[in-house]
Each structure stands twice: as C-alpha cells, then as structure tokens.
C-alpha cells in the first residue's frame, strides 16, 4: 500500500480533484505506468487518501472576541440581550442576530455551536489557545491548527504556501505559527487580498535570479562546513521553498482581477470580503489552510454600534463564501470556521460595552462534512452559563480534526523529543456529522 502512495500524489491534479471521472482518468495513466497494481486495488487503497487530500479549511478569525449576543446567540427579551433583535433563518427554529440577514439565508449549510467554554479571558492567551488547542506555555511552542493542517494535508506538488494568513495585524504573533514543527509550517502572511503579495516577483529575469541562487549556495559552502551548518540548512530550505513559490504559475491565484466582476461584487468590496474571495481561490489552487482575519471585536465600549458595523463587513462575504463553495462543489471538502478567541460578558457595562467572557461563547462551522442547519448546545436564558452540551476547546479541536480527517491522537515530536498529540484529550462533537 505504501508503494503507490507516491503515484497517487503524482496523479492527483492541483485541485486534488475527487470527481469520479477525473479520478479514473488519473488512475489509468499511473496504473499503466506502474503496471503492478490492479484497478480495484488501486481504487480501494487510494480512495481515502485521495479524499483526504482534497480536504481544506478556511478559518474566518474575528480578533478581539465577537459578542455572541449580537451574532450567533441573541437573547432578545432578556436584560443581558440589550437591544439586539433576533431574526428567522431559512432553517426553521434557528434564529440569529438581526446583524446577519445574508447568513440567515445560508443557514442550511452552517451549524452553530453555542456552548463553547474555556478559561482564557486574556486576548493573547485565548488567541493562542483557539489557534492551537493548547494554552501558551513558555516551554513548548505549540503549532497553530493551520500549521498542523499544512503538515498533514499539504501536497508536495502544490507550489503555493500550505498555510496562508490574510489581513489582521502582521505583527500579531499570538495567532500562532509553526511552533515546534518549524519555520516551514509558518503562515505566509499577506496584509491585504487583491494583489500579489509584496516582493513576490524577482527583480531580475528568471535566469539571472537562478544564477544568483546558485552563487549563494556556493558562497555559503564554507560557512556551512563549520558550526553554521544547521542554520545554513534551514536557510536554504526557506530559500528553496520561497523560490519555488514565486516562480510558480499558481501565484495567479492571488490576483483577484482575474475573477469576473460579478463574482467580486457578490462577495463585496471590503478588505475582509476580498480576503474571503482569495481564500476560495487559494483553496481551489490546492492550499489546504487559509485564515482570514478581521480585527476590532474587542467592544468594551459602544458594543452595539460597533458589532453592527463589524457584522456589516462580515455578513455578506461569509454568506456568499458558503454559497460559492457550495455552487463549485467544494464545500463538502472545505471546512469553514467563523470564530474569535472568546465571547463577551452577558452584563452590559456602564460604557454600553461588553467585556471578555470565555465561559460561554459561540462559533460557526460549515462544510467539511458538517451537517448544516443545526444548533449544538445552548446557554441559559441570560447567557451566563452553558445550559446544554458544554464544548471544551479540546472537544472543538477534536471536531475540527474529524472534519479534516486528521488523526488527533497523532504525536509530533518537539525538538527535545517530547511527543505532543495534535489534540490532547476531548471528544469530537459527533452530532455535527452524518
């Protein structure tokens, strides 16, 4: 079985297409070339692998901690709910805040989790926790989920970075990186969607650029012989990977001008909307993990106006992303997550704001095998507590792994040889699937 892993890699096209016709077409070429395996062997053995390879994840990260009361878990009629109203969605019985009229129409694709609970109420720590599944520690630098996905689902034949992070503050490092998995799993961060990332084209013609890389390697030979060897190896790895990327035709995925005007309009014109569109283009090009960040949800004051304004930036692009992925037939293999680092306090503070509240908060999942049109868990009437089905952060990460078909019990080694599970403990929220 191991022996034709390689071949399936070769035969899968850039999109990791799962379609039966494409699949058979691919298999015929490789099986003929290999001449060793039977059709049924190959199909049976490769089906899982192929399907897995198509898996991708888009994380829509709401930095600051979005208020669940004004988004996914409104409490109209309760003092804690404030003036926020709830609206019906296309799924009967599910109501969300009136700030999300477009998302309400796509409810059949999405599942709402209303009973997430954690203990981290500090932005930096909670941001790290919700990106990695682990609280930050000084001793082990846990990798972000994006880095795990890049490692588990990244395809060697894809020349684009396997983990792309769009928007947000590029200085913000709490969102996690490759951690102990190493620099090759760090996110490729771009400030805004819409054009080629900065410095992504050589300043000379390609032959001269290659000549320079060749010279660099020769000039480093001395330094590499001495104590600098490991550093030179790492540096070369980085330069090779970077060069492959910038010389790739797939870089066109970053150019949103190539997208029809109607499609761009459907997403909307804000930077976050462009980020969502870029996320779809990248997933189509074989990138397994894309994170789009939107800052500003830390609404300690003037919560209601600010969340309304932020929701206005989010509602249409997210709704359209789900519809677009569905229309292209890739929603089933693409998990979309909408969340922030924690929720906000039930009590409205004197500045008409809400403060940090990790005890009971919400997130939204769609695609990637998650059955849409359902709500999991609930909070009490005032939103102070989880009422039903508490979901711990480890449960949540188990769930993401289930969707992405990553083994959560797999252990990665830290540089000092300490095995660390992808997710430590917890149970997947199984009612989300099937």
């Amino acid at each position: 079985m191991f022996s034709f892993h390689r071949q399936t890699r070769v035969t899968v096209n850039r999109q990791g297409v799962v379609g039966r016709r494409d699949f058979l077409k691919c298999v015929s070429a490789s099986a003929l070339a290999a001449g060793t395996v039977t059709w049924t062997d190959l199909v049976a053995a490769s089906a899982d692998d192929l399907r897995r390879r198509g898996r991708a994840c888009i994380l829509l990260w709401m930095q600051g901690g979005p208020s669940q009361f004004e988004t996914l878990d409104p409490k109209p009629g309760h003092a804690n709910g404030g003036a926020t109203e709830a609206i019906d969605t296309t799924v009967s019985g599910i109501r969300i805040a009136a700030n999300f009229p477009n998302l309400a129409k796509q409810m059949k694709h999405a599942a709402i989790l209303r009973s997430l609970t954690s203990k981290e109420g500090n932005h930096q720590r909670a941001t790290f926790l919700m990106h990695t599944g682990y609280a930050p520690t000084a001793s082990v630098k846990h990798p972000a989920l994006g880095s795990i996905v890049a490692r588990e689902l990244g395809r060697p034949e894809c020349e684009l970075p396997a983990f792309v992070r769009i928007g947000g503050d590029i200085r913000q490092r709490n969102s996690g990186n490759g951690g102990f998995l190493g620099v090759e799993y760090d996110p490729f961060a771009i400030r805004e969607a819409g054009k080629l990332p900065e410095n992504a084209a050589p300043t000379t013609e390609v032959t001269r650029y290659r000549r320079r890389l060749d010279l660099l390697e020769k000039l480093e030979a001395d330094y590499a012989k001495g104590d600098g060897s490991q550093r030179v190896v790492d540096h070369r790895k980085l330069y090779e990977k970077t060069s492959r990327m910038i010389l790739s035709k797939d870089m066109r995925a970053f150019d949103l001008e190539r997208e029809p005007a109607a499609v761009r309009e459907a997403y909307g014109s804000t930077p976050f909307a462009s980020g969502c569109l870029l996320a779809r283009r990248l997933v189509e090009s074989g990138v397994p993990f894309v994170e789009v960040q939107l800052n500003g949800w830390d609404t300690h004051d003037n919560n209601f106006d600010r969340v309304k304004q932020l929701s206005g930036q989010v509602d249409q692009p997210v709704a359209n992303l789900l519809a677009d992925l569905d229309a292209r037939g890739i929603l089933e293999r693409t998990l979309v997550i909408w969340m922030g680092e924690f929720g906000r306090t039930p009590k409205i503070n004197p500045r008409n704001g809400r403060d940090h509240y990790p005890r009971a908060f919400s997130a939204l999942l769609a695609g990637g095998g998650v059955r849409g049109g359902q709500v999991v868990g609930s909070t009490t009437a005032g939103g102070d507590e989880v009422a039903e089905r508490p979901i711990l952060v480890t449960d949540f990460f188990q769930t993401l792994c289930r969707s992405l078909e990553i083994d959560p019990a797999k252990e990665n080694m830290t540089p000092i040889g300490r095995p660390i599970k992808i997710v430590d403990g917890g149970q997947p929220v199984s009612e989300l699937f099937g």
Binding site: T137, I170, T203, L219, D227, L238, T242, D384
Partner: protein, 587 residues
C-alpha cells in the same frame, strides 16, 4: 493548565534524576525540596534567603575574572569538554559592534582593530563603543521591543518613539537602572512625549496585566499565572498577585484633546478617591473599583470580588487601602528596586547575560524566581550583587560581561539539554540591527520606504500611523520579534526571504545603475578599487565584516568569468552576500 502540568512534569523528571547533567546538584536539590515543601509556603515571601551584606564594588576587569572562576566552577563538567578557542579579532569586533551599538563595524574600523597590537585592544574597543551615542539608541530599541511586544492595545505604539528616546538618553548617561524602573512605575503624561509612560500604558489601563508586566519585565517573575488560580509548583498564591495589582488600580489611559485637536493619549491617575470611598470603599460597588482593586470571584465573575490591600509579594511589605495613587506607585517602585529584592537585579543581569552570551542562566530570560532552575546561581548572584554595588550601572554590566572569557570565545551552536555549555552561541540579529547592517552593506544613508502606506498624515506626537511609514518600522514589521522569547526559537519566514531577495528598494541599493544623479555606492566602489580581488574583499568587509577565504574568492572569480558581464557579476555577489545565512547572525 498545560503550563502547570508541564512544570510538574519537569520537576518530577528532575526528582528522579533525569536532569541535564550540567545542572548543579545544589539547584536540583533545592528544586526537589521546594516541591516537597509547597504545602508549607502558603504565605511565604520570596526573600527566604538570608540577607547579604552589600558587596564591595570591584572594577569590570576584576569582576569578569571572578565570573570566569565562578562559571568554570559551576559548569564543572566543562573540564571534560573540548576547550573552545578565543574568537578571532574579526569575529570579536563584529560581535561587540552589533551587541553594543547595533551595527556592523566599518571596513576601516575592522582593519584598524586587526592591526592594533596592544594587548588590551578588546577592552578599549568595548569602552569606545560604550561611549558612542548609538550604544544608548541600540539598547533603547531593544527595551522598546521588550516593553511593547506584549502590548494589549495597538495604541500603545504612540509611546514607541518617545520610549526609545528616553531610554537612549538614560543608557548613554548611565542613569541607574533602579531610577529607570522607578520612572516607569511612577510615570504619568502624554505617551507621545514621555516614554516613561510606555510600560504601564502598554497594558492600556488593564490592572492585572499591568501588574503582571511590571513583575515580568522588571523582576523576571511571572506571577500572573496566579491570576486565576494558586499555582501548584509556584509558591505564591492568587491573593498575592492581586495584592500586587492593588498598587495600580487608579491608572488609566485616555485620549488628549487640546485646541479641538486630538493630541494622542495620556497615562493618567486618579490621585484621591472621593471621601466616602476612603471610608467604606467596599460598599461603593462598581464606582469603588475605579479607586481600589478587587480580586474577581471565580465562581461569579459578575460579583464584586474581594477588596485587595496593596502588599508586595516579595517582602510582604504593605500599604493600607485608600492611599493616594502617587504614594502607592512611589512606594512599590521603592520596594521593587530595593537591594533587598534580589529579583530586580537578577532579572536585568540575567537578561544582559543572555543577550551578550546567547544563553540565559535562567531561561526563559523573563521567568526567574525561587522555583525555577538557574544553571549558574553563584555566578548570577555575584554579577547581581556587583551590579547593585555599582549603583545599577548598565554600562558597568555590559563592560563586565564583555570582558569575561566566555564572551571572548568562539560561539558554537546552542548545546542540547545534556551537553555542557562552554561558550556563547550565535544570535539572530534583531530587526534594528539587521536594518542597520543592510543600510551599511549597501552604502545607503537610509533605505527608501519599502512600500506605500495608506492613511492620513497623522498629527499627534508619536502617532504610530506616521511612524509606521518609515522604512525602519516597515522592516521591523517583517523581521521584528519579542526579545524575551527564547532566541533559538526565532526563525525566518517566507516574507523575510522575499524582502531580502526581491524588495525593489533593496534591489536599487544593490544596483550599479546611478541612484538619482550620483553614482551608486557599488559603482563608486568599482571606480575606486584596483581590481576584482579588491572589490571582493571590500564587499565581504562591508557585508560580513570579514575578508573572504581563499575558496570564497575562487567562487567569486569563477562567477565573474562565467557571467562575462562584470557589472552584473558584482551585483550578483552583493545580492548573494546580503542573502546569506551569515548576514543574519552575529557569531
């Protein structure tokens, strides 16, 4: 939670004898003992050590020799390890130059240093660098990153420039470190005009975070783990963290307006509470929280919580509830910086040791305390007590560490846990150092902005929207890191490689084509140099601070032959040197 669990695990490992072999046995015994005794230290303070008589100040050279002895003794296992040679003069001058003034030595400086035959030329070099005004600037930028890297609000960047200026002056004028720390703790005023506000403003008036950062940065004690729960392996209790926070409840940050204009932000403090609050603050509910600190009720976050009295966890010294803001902050500043608090001096000497040698005696460098491992406790104690005896003079500290034999040795890759350290290790350059060396290597006075920034002109002092447009700040955004993070975990990313390889601004600096009306630096070099070999040597000196080896020269020569166009070949060589691994490190 996992942090706690790992700590327990670590102690368990040590207790069963799996500790790295070079850890001194004494420290291991102490660690195991503190684990056993953890039940009995519910209200213990950190000064369980016997008070020492003040040390007699010893000059830097004598102190360095004493440090050599102590370190050799504490790292006994080093006897069996191969000796590490003294670093070459070329390596030393580049190292000291980066470490002290944050930039490469010029080709002339290198040549003069190599030609100097006097036996004390290294000490003289260190002295000269300490007298350079860029010494203060370099360390001002370092501490700016330490303080602002963990800001909880982006607007704290309003203080970035003023902080650098304040610190640069303080370091150049040898302002004692206890004075600097006191300034930070007692500051008030406009962030853009007074950099002393930066440490408190970095947490934007969040009281527990402010206390946590004061403890972490100034004492290397990470007491904030106790914010939510008593720590199973640390001795302090949750109350003690909130008692520290009780020194800071009256500070805040608010926007400043003058003449109808936004004038940035200021760190403010409510000096006196209204009379009634003084009498029965606990009864005032929410309003009282603006004047006193309350420890939240974990079972009921909405409840009022417990009123905390200001108590300094290290010594147990305390103030009554209701004191004015200035008295609270002046008092806690005095207690934190007092010689009786050993962690104040240890934190800063450990940090400078780690920066200059490449490894801290405590690691991470901002996580000290009685329940942590120190690989050379006596060495660190000696350095700390001498630092106090020299009235907290950072220049004395830098001079002393730079005079130790370990600082003068070749560097080697960081030892693994079971290897014996015998020398320092290479450090990746910080963004500012790298930016300086780029402008030097490319012969530019400054690099043009790396990209267009959007946004208005920015008015108030220190407005980061304006400051962010400088090439240095843009470079910092790609290459910057938190200097308190373990340095061996800092690694390069695709964005960094892209910038160095392909940035149009840098490419123009590497070009032979005329820059504006004047010839480019590379073109000038070509015009002045006699032959190929001279150009190669000059490029190596400019970029890497050393002359090329014979086989590197051969590679350069072959490249010129292969490319045919000499101009193109030189540009390629400059590009390759700037993109080399060696360029990114100080060995």
């Amino acid at each position: 939670m996992s942090r706690c669990m790992y700590r327990c695990g670590l102690i368990l490992l040590i207790a069963v004898g799996l500790a790295p072999c070079w850890l001194p046995q004494r420290a291991i015994a102490a660690e195991a003992a503190s684990g056993d005794a953890s039940d009995g230290v519910a209200v213990a303070t950190l000064t369980s050590e016997s008070p020492r008589a003040p040390a007699t100040p010893v000059d830097a050279m004598a102190a360095a020799r004493r440090l050599d002895e102590l370190l050799a003794n504490e790292w006994k296992a080093a006897a069996g390890a191969p000796a590490v040679a003294s670093a070459s003069d070329a390596v030393f001058v580049r190292r000291a130059s980066f470490d002290l003034i944050g930039e490469l030595p010029t080709p002339d400086e290198i040549t003069l240093f190599l030609l100097d035959k006097s036996p004390d030329k290294r000490a003289k070099l260190v002295e000269r660098l300490l007298g350079n005004s860029r010494y203060g600037l370099n360390w001002g930028r370092y501490w700016r990153d330490v303080i602002l890297a963990r800001r909880s609000d982006e607007r704290a960047l309003f203080a970035a420039e003023s902080l650098t200026t304040y610190l640069a002056d303080a370091f150049n004028n040898s302002t004692p470190w206890n004075q600097v720390a006191t300034d930070f703790i007692t500051a008030k005023g406009n962030l853009g005009e007074d950099g002393r506000t930066a440490l408190l403003a970095s947490q934007w008036g969040e009281i527990p975070e402010t206390a946590a950062e004061v403890a972490r940065i100034l004492m290397g004690v990470q007491i904030q783990c106790a914010q939510c729960h008593d720590h199973p392996t640390d001795r302090w209790k949750r109350e003690q963290f909130h008692e520290l926070a009780a020194f800071f409840p009256r500070i805040g940050v608010r926007p400043v307006r003058a003449d109808g204009q936004r004038r940035g932000f200021e760190l403010t403090a409510r000096e006196e509470a209204p009379p009634i609050a003084k009498i029965r603050p606990a009864k005032l509910g929410k309003a009282a929280k603006r004047f006193e600190h309350y420890m939240p009720d974990l079972n009921d976050p909405a409840a009022e919580g417990t009123l905390m009295q200001p108590v300094f966890f290290v010594t147990g010294q305390q103030l009554p509830v209701g004191e004015p803001d200035s008295r609270r902050r002046e008092t806690v500043a005095a207690w934190i910086t007092a010689p009786e608090n050993p962690w104040f001096a240890r934190a800063v000497v450990n940090r400078y040791w780690a920066e200059l040698v490449g490894m801290g005696m405590y690691e991470p460098i901002d996580d000290l305390g009685p329940d942590r491992q120190c690989t050379a406790p006596e060495t660190l104690d000696y350095l700390g007590s001498q630092f106090i005896a020299h009235n907290y003079d950072i220049k004395w500290l830098v001079r002393t560490i730079a005079s130790t034999s370990i600082y003068g040795r070749e560097s080697k890759p960081r030892p693994t846990a079971d290897e014996v350290p015998a020398c320092g290790c290479p450090q990746p350059l910080r963004a500012d150092q790298l930016f300086n060396s780029l402008t030097q290597a490319l012969g530019l006075d400054g690099i043009e902005p790396l990209r267009e920034e959007r946004g208005g002109p920015g008015g108030p002092p220190g407005d980061p929207r304006r400051a962010m447009r400088t090439p240095r700040a843009q470079f910092q955004q790609v290459f910057g890191f938190d200097p308190s993070e373990p340095r061996d975990e800092i690694s390069g990313g695709v964005s960094q490689a892209l910038l160095l390889m392909n940035s149009p601004a840098l490419a123009r600096g590497m070009s032979l084509d005329a820059a504006g009306r004047s010839a480019s630096p590379l073109a000038k070099l070509l015009a002045d140099a006699g032959g190929d070999e001279e150009v190669f040597v000059e490029l190596y000196l400019r970029c890497l601070g050393r002359e090329p080896h014979a086989d590197e020269l051969a590679v350069c020569r072959r490249h010129v032959v292969r490319v045919k166009d000499r101009r193109e070949a030189y540009e390629d060589i400059l590009w390759a040197l700037v993109n080399s691994t060696e360029f990114l490190y100080r060995d």
